[in-house]
Structure formats: C-alpha cells, structure tokens
Symmetry: C2
Subunit: 418 residues, 2 copies
C-alpha cells in the first residue's frame, strides 16, 4: 500500500508537470536538451562508477554476456548519449503545428493542431542509454515521461536521471517532467500500467516477453513492436543480381536488428537460377539456410525448415527459404507468418509490384530495396523512439510527430447550434 | 470451449475478409452501400417484426422506458438508417490517399499512404441502428467489422445484419467483412477483446460502465469516450450577451448529448452582473442550478454544489456554477474535473483566449462558440463513428479518416544499407 502510494505520487507529479511542459517554448526546450548533454559529459565519471555497481552485481548473478554488454556504460557510450540529446535539440519542434484548418459555412474556423500526448510511460530493460534517449525525445515533443528501466540497471538509471534533471527548472521545465519509478519492486510497474488518469501512453522497449506482459496488464494504450519477422520476395521478373545484393544486405549486415530478413521467398520460375547463387554468397558469410522441400531439391545440403521456422525471429545468421508459385502465395504467406514489420519485393514488373505493395499488411513495404532501411534516422525523421508494428496511432518508425496527439481549436464569434 | 471456438471462427473469417475488402474499389464499395440501403427499405417489415420480439421481451423484463425507446425501430428509423448508408456512399474514400511523400538522399522514395486499420470490433448497447451505421462506415473505410450489440437487441441486430450482408459479394466484398458475434453469452465478448491476432481496434459505444469494462478486459487498443463533462468559462472580458446565448444553447438545446455543458465557470469581476441574467434565462427553461459559495451569495436561492457535482455528467437540465478568480483557475479546474471533451471560453481578450485554448487539455476547445458543435457532421467530416476523449490515434469526432491507419511504401532501385 505504501509502495502504491509512492508510485501514484510520482505519476501524479508527472501529470502535473505535463501541463507545464506542454507549453514551454522551443528555445527553452532546446536549451534544456543541450544542458542535459553537457551534464552527462561533465558527470561521466559518476555515471561510470554507478554503472560499475550494476555491472558487478550482474556478473555476480551470472547474467548473460549479451545482457552485461547492453548494460555496460563506457566513455564512448556516454558521449553517444550526449550527442543524441544535442541532435534532438536540432530537430523541428512538432508542437503547435497546424495540421489542417478549415472554415465551416457558419464561419466557425476549425484548426487541427499538433499537441503533446501528455505523460508517456517507458518500460525498458537493461540498456541505460534508453533513459536519456527517451527523456530527450519526450521533452522535445512536450511530453512528461515516466521511466521505468530494468532492475539490473537501477543504479545507472538513477544516476543518469539525477544528472539530466538537475537544474532543468532553469528552463521552465519541472524536474518531474522527467520522472523515474525508482522502486525495483515489480508491483510498481502494475501501478503505472493501471493508472490511465496519470499516464496517456505506454511504450515498452525490450524483448517479446516484456511487451506481452505489459500489453496484458495495461489499461493504458500501448504502442509496441513484438518482433521483426521480415521477408524478401524475389519475383520471377526480378533483377537477380540486385536480388542477391539485397538479400545479402538484409540478412547479413546486422542480423540482430529487427529489420533484418528472416525468410526468403523465391518464385518457382527463377528458383533454380537464383538459389544456388544467393546461397553461395550467404554461406560464405556464415548464414545457415533452412529450406522447404522445393528449395531442398535445388539446395540439397541444407536443413529442412519446419512450420516453426516460418514464424521464427532468428536475429541471427539463419535464413528460412521457401519456393512459392506466385506473388499471391508470397503475399498470403507474409500476411500469415510475418509480423507486419518490413517486407520487400524484388521485381521489374509494375503490376506485380503494385499488388505486393498494396496487399502486404506491414508497416513498411519495399520495392527493390533492403528492409534494413526501416529506421527513424534512415527515413529522415531525425530520431526514433521505436518501431511500431501496431496499426493504431503510429506505424513503422516512431519519432517526434508520433509522440504527439492533436486537438481541435475552434474559433467563433458567438455561434450557437440550431 | 465450443463457444470460444465459434467466436474465434467468426473473428478469423473477419480477418481474412479484411485482406479482401482493403483493396475493393471505391466504386464497388459505394455500390454496396447503396444496395445495403435499398435492402433495408425493402425489408423494413421483416426488420420491424424481428424488432418487435426484442421490444416485447424487454417490456416483459421491465427494462427502463429510455432503453425501450432506444431499442424500438420504426419505419422512420429504418429510413434514417438507409439514408445514413447513402450519405456514407457519397463521402470521399480515405483509402489510398498519399498523406506525404519524400525522397531520401539515396533516392529512396518514401510514401506515407492511408490504409484501412483491418478489423474493427464494435461493442454497443441497445440501439439497433448502430449495426448498420458502423457497418457502413467500416465498409467505406475498407475495414472489416465485428459487431456485438446488446443481448436485448439480438433479434433486431441479426435481422439488420442478415439484410445488409445479403448479396454484397456481388461487389467483391465477402459477407464476413461485416461480421456479427451472434452469441449472447457474455464470455463471447471476452474472446473478442483478447484476440489481437484477429481484431486491430475496439470501439465501445455506450454507457461509462460498458466502456470501463471493455477497457479493463481488452488486450486490443480501445478508442473510447467515457463521458462529456464540458465547461463554459465566461471571462471578465466577455461579451455578456453572447455569453448568455451560448450558455443557454450549450446547456438547454439537447442536454442529454455529451457535448452539452455541465459546469459554468464565471470570472469574479463580472459574476454579479452576469449570474442573475443567465440564471433567469436558464431557470425559465427549467434548468436547476447548483452553486459554489460565491455563486450562492449572488444567486441566493440555488442549491449548494458539492465536490461530486464538479465531476458530474448530468445529461439533464442541471448546471453546476462556480465563480473563479482568474483564467488560470478556470483552466486548472477544467483540467482537473473535466473529461477532456469540449470546453469553451467567452472573451474578447486575445491573450487570455490564447492561454485558454492552448492550456485546456481537451479534444475540442472553443472560443466564443457553443460546445454543441463537437460532432462529426457539424465539423464537416460527413459522418461520425464516435467522439474520442483519448489522445492516442484519434481525438474528438471520429469519421472515416480516423478509421484508417497508414503504411509506408518505399520505392527503390536496388538500395542497400551501408
């Protein structure tokens, strides 16, 4: 009960701060972001020492190497965090933009204006840089945020939080506009997720398990990204040289990222020409292929793909391969087994391309390009708080605009309804 | 278990239909809507006879008169339902619109394109017209819908559903694009609300109790509108004649609608001039006033307003009245007690107006006009599936555009990420 009260108090303060930060000027928000960047650099030593406590505890608990790597701060990482905040200061302020306006026959002027969402809750795992990255994006978009990182990073997160919030009230921003749930008890998350009166949106960042749990518990809207099971479909009218380059890029360049492909679909008419060539290049890079029966007639030595493989997000140098009879089959397959993230077709046929682009139900659908471009920076949005595979509110890379809502401002001169 | 299977089957069919209806041409969607309108008129007798079964059962169960009124179909109401569908046929198709497009330095062309959401679940109470209204709006916006009305209207809803879906496959639309959960068992709703793999969005339409329940259970995004606790703030720089007219209109014209005001806030400097005049006009219309202590010094005979009154959505000829010291106090009061629906200020002072319009955290904020204009038709959107007091995805009146999501279509010529 005491815990609940404590968390509710944090949330209430964030809500109150959200009303203030919503109308802080662009200039002051930018000055605050630059000051936060400077504070990170200046306190780098303190941050690393606090982080060392988390890292040593993680080692004692025998947590995985991958987790410890994500958890560890270095001078370079602190510099990157600061650089990130500076970049956000340079981005266009989305708040106050008039999205559209029109006048009604009765002379009412209706303006649809971009406004902050209010309070954004961020639930994340072990990366401490998420603390400053998300705080910066929320601040620039006029939102208060409530941060809740993994318990294994608690000392790092508290330190970063302390450093970036100190003195931001100089710029008219209450420090509770960047709030942190500094209670490692798990029930604190539940209080956050069931307080729609204080929190408007929840963005979970982490593995599928975390995201499913958050979605299940939350009575607040959640924007999420379960996984990236991305496909490349090589059509019978494909430029096979480009197809090979793109398959290689989309699988090999950074296989652990969500926009890397997990499944290659190949039209039957070009399978016997394309598969040997692409498999040679992929195998040279250490990629393990798993194929459907038709694929294995061409690539005899590869493993069999099971039903489970079609759903798999390997995030590793493994690629499932299937031969299909038509673009229709490819589209159906992607909509069934995919994760609505990023899928590409390689073809020179405009009609087939059009069909694929229209009917594949994913946030990003590519023609003759690598799926690796699904990213806020690559899209030119200047930032990214996540990639949404949802369809409500935001889809694909989410940046400052997607951290905003809108409101209607209606200007009258005494109009009444008759 | 059998029930669960049955409902899941309905949902799965709706999901499959959503892939088809998403790319039906505007022409065919409009032809289907007109055919649905004609079918309603042609089968009016059948609809009324099925409705009579529900009405008589409701009477036997001693349900309230208001509910029975909402439940009852008449020739006129059937005509209105048909007219509604015809109007939707006349609206602009939102699907396929290019919201924005830009080219990246690497020559990738990124198009942000409006697309249907997919499957929309509508949970509603006793009004059978919701069945055809929502089916029409979902169809026009390229969405499949799953309808689930109140059990007291089951025969009416089944009849309407049967009539409007018959033969729509002539226009390339699978009849399961308009699906109905024809099981009155309450656990059917739970299956719907926890099947995010088949349903993308849930819109509950009904009382606050229904909406809270839906939000609690659902693991699917919900867009909702709990209540309309709307305010009118009469500033010290108000044109008091206009203020009286607008107060009267916003309270009296249709008090049972969510955009009617429930609370009047009056600046202290004009309270003794304004309150006697406005109370005279309101009392003549049968409005009961409930006031704060300062109000009751001026209007001596009125009832005392309690804390509960400030939160109340009367939907009736009752108005809470409070004297405030400043626009700041008015804004704080509205953000605390209001429901983020529609709030208005009456003032001639531009600076004060601006402050109010920016800082009141509601979907629609008015200057010198009645809150009664918060409505899809009044806004010129041509339709309305509801009014959202949420901030995610859609805010204020929701029409066809708000029933859409978007996707990114990225056109390349072999681009890979380096």
């Amino acid at each position: 009960m005491l815990l609940r009260k404590k968390v509710l108090n944090i949330l209430r303060n964030a809500r109150e701060a959200s009303w203030v930060i919503a109308s802080v000027s662009t200039k002051n928000k930018n000055r605050a972001l630059v000051a936060m960047a400077q504070a990170l650099l200046k306190n780098s030593r303190y941050l690393l020492s606090q982080n060392a406590r988390d890292v040593s505890a993680a080692k004692k608990r025998n947590l995985s190497r991958a987790l410890i790597d994500r958890l560890t701060l270095t001078d370079k990482r602190v510099k990157e965090m600061a650089e990130s905040l500076r970049k956000v200061a340079g981005l266009k302020d989305p708040v106050g933009e008039i999205i559209r306006q029109w006048r009604r026959p009765n002379k009412l002027l209706i303006k649809k204006v971009r406004v902050p969402i209010g309070v954004v809750g961020i639930i994340y795992e072990s990366r401490p840089n998420v603390t400053s990255d998300c705080a910066g994006l929320c601040l620039k978009s006029g939102n208060a945020c409530v941060l809740r990182g993994g318990s294994e990073a608690i000392n790092s997160n508290l330190a970063i939080h302390k450093v970036i919030t100190q003195g931001i009230d100089r710029f008219g921003i209450p420090s509770s506009a960047i709030s942190m749930v500094n209670v490692t008890d798990r029930s604190a998350v539940k209080v956050l997720l069931t307080s729609p009166e204080f929190v408007d949106l929840v963005i979970p960042r982490g593995g599928e398990g975390l995201i499913r749990k958050v979605t299940e518990i939350s009575t607040i809207p959640v924007i999420k990204h379960y996984k990236g099971v991305c496909h490349l479909y090589v059509d019978k009218y494909a430029d096979l040289k480009k197809a090979t380059e793109i398959a290689f890029n989309a699988k090999v360049q950074r296989p652990a990222i969500c926009n890397a492909i997990e499944t290659l679909l190949v039209h039957k008419d070009i399978a016997s020409r394309f598969l040997p060539e692409v498999s040679r290049v992929l195998k040279d890079a250490g990629v393990e292929l798993r194929g459907c029966p038709k694929t294995r007639k061409i690539l005899k030595s590869i493993k069999k793909a099971t039903e489970k493989d079609w759903y798999a997000e390997y995030l590793d140098l493994i690629l499932a391969v299937k031969v299909v009879n038509s673009v229709d089959e490819a589209i159906g397959f992607i909509n069934k087994y995919g994760s609505n993230h990023s899928d590409a077709i390689i073809t020179k046929n405009r009609y087939i391309a059009d069909m694929f682009l229209r009917r594949v139900d994913s946030s990003c659908v590519y023609l003759n390009a690598s799926t690796r471009f699904t990213d806020g920076y690559q899209f030119g949005l200047g930032a990214e708080i996540g990639i949404s595979t949802d369809k409500i509110h935001a889809r694909g890379p989410m940046a400052l605009e997607e951290l905003c809502s809108y409101k209607y401002i209606i200007l009258g001169s005494g109009q009444i309804r008759t």
